[in-house]
């Protein structure tokens, strides 16, 4: 069974304090790994897709990386507006659905 585990569950940082969120996955034949951002009471917002180990993608203060077992979302010099829940999901080859992790709730204090 495909599984996604995110850690930590919650993370509180000071503005400017860089850190990383982890997404460990078990899937038979990875087709893609996805990162989403979700603000309270809203739908998830798509950030990145990673397809193969070694791939990296960047957007503003966020960088996502992928290995054969896990993905990291690195946040560099975060600002309070980066506060949100970050969700990781995987899709296996031949399947339509995404399997989501529980998310990491990130809080950036000014």
């Amino acid at each position: 069974e495909d599984q996604v585990t995110q850690s930590p569950e919650a993370l509180r940082l000071q503005e400017g304090e860089s850190s990383s969120l982890n997404c460990s996955y078990t899937v038979s034949g990875l087709r893609g790994l996805f990162w989403y951002r979700q603000d309270p009471g809203k739908g998830p917002e798509f950030l990145f897709t990673l397809y193969s180990a070694g791939e990296e993608k960047e957007k503003e203060r966020l960088k996502a990386t992928l290995t054969k077992k896990e993905s990291f979302l690195h946040i560099t010099a975060p600002k309070p507006e980066d506060s949100a829940t970050y969700l990781c999901a995987v899709s296996r080859q031949g399947a339509q659905k995404l399997v989501f992790g529980q998310g990491t709730r990130l809080t950036i204090n000014p």
Partner: protein, 115 residues
């Protein structure tokens, strides 16, 4: 920009009522999905559709049905609402079934309360 809209942001219904949640996407996406999101349980797939009039069960289809009569519209139906269906319902769509463009784009969600 991809736009996925849902018919209501908040909905309150009584136990036993038939409930319709509607979702519309404006980017000619082939695939559409319905999820529910609950604290501690994360996002769970209810149903999805990969073409007009085609549907497949997700992980938790019991108590729900769906309808896709037009490519841009995907409806979730609660045949007889129960209190355990109180949840945030999220609709999503994606472009391709193969190739690289299959990330899902989500709507704003409908917070359904069944009393």
């Amino acid at each position: 920009d991809v736009k996925v809209t849902q018919s209501s942001r908040y909905l309150v219904k009584r136990t036993g009522e038939k409930v319709f949640l509607e979702c519309v996407q404006d980017m000619d996406h082939e695939n559409m999905f319905w999820y529910r999101q609950d604290p501690g349980l994360g996002l769970r797939l209810i149903y999805f559709s990969y073409d007009v009039k085609m549907k497949e069960k997700g992980d938790i289809p019991e108590g729900y049905s769906v309808s896709r009569e037009k490519k841009e519209r995907f409806s979730l139906i609660l045949e007889s609402a129960s209190t355990n269906q109180t949840s945030m319902y999220l609709c999503a769509s994606s472009l391709y079934t193969s190739g690289s463009k299959y990330e899902q784009y989500f709507g704003p969600g409908t917070r359904l309360t069944v009393t």
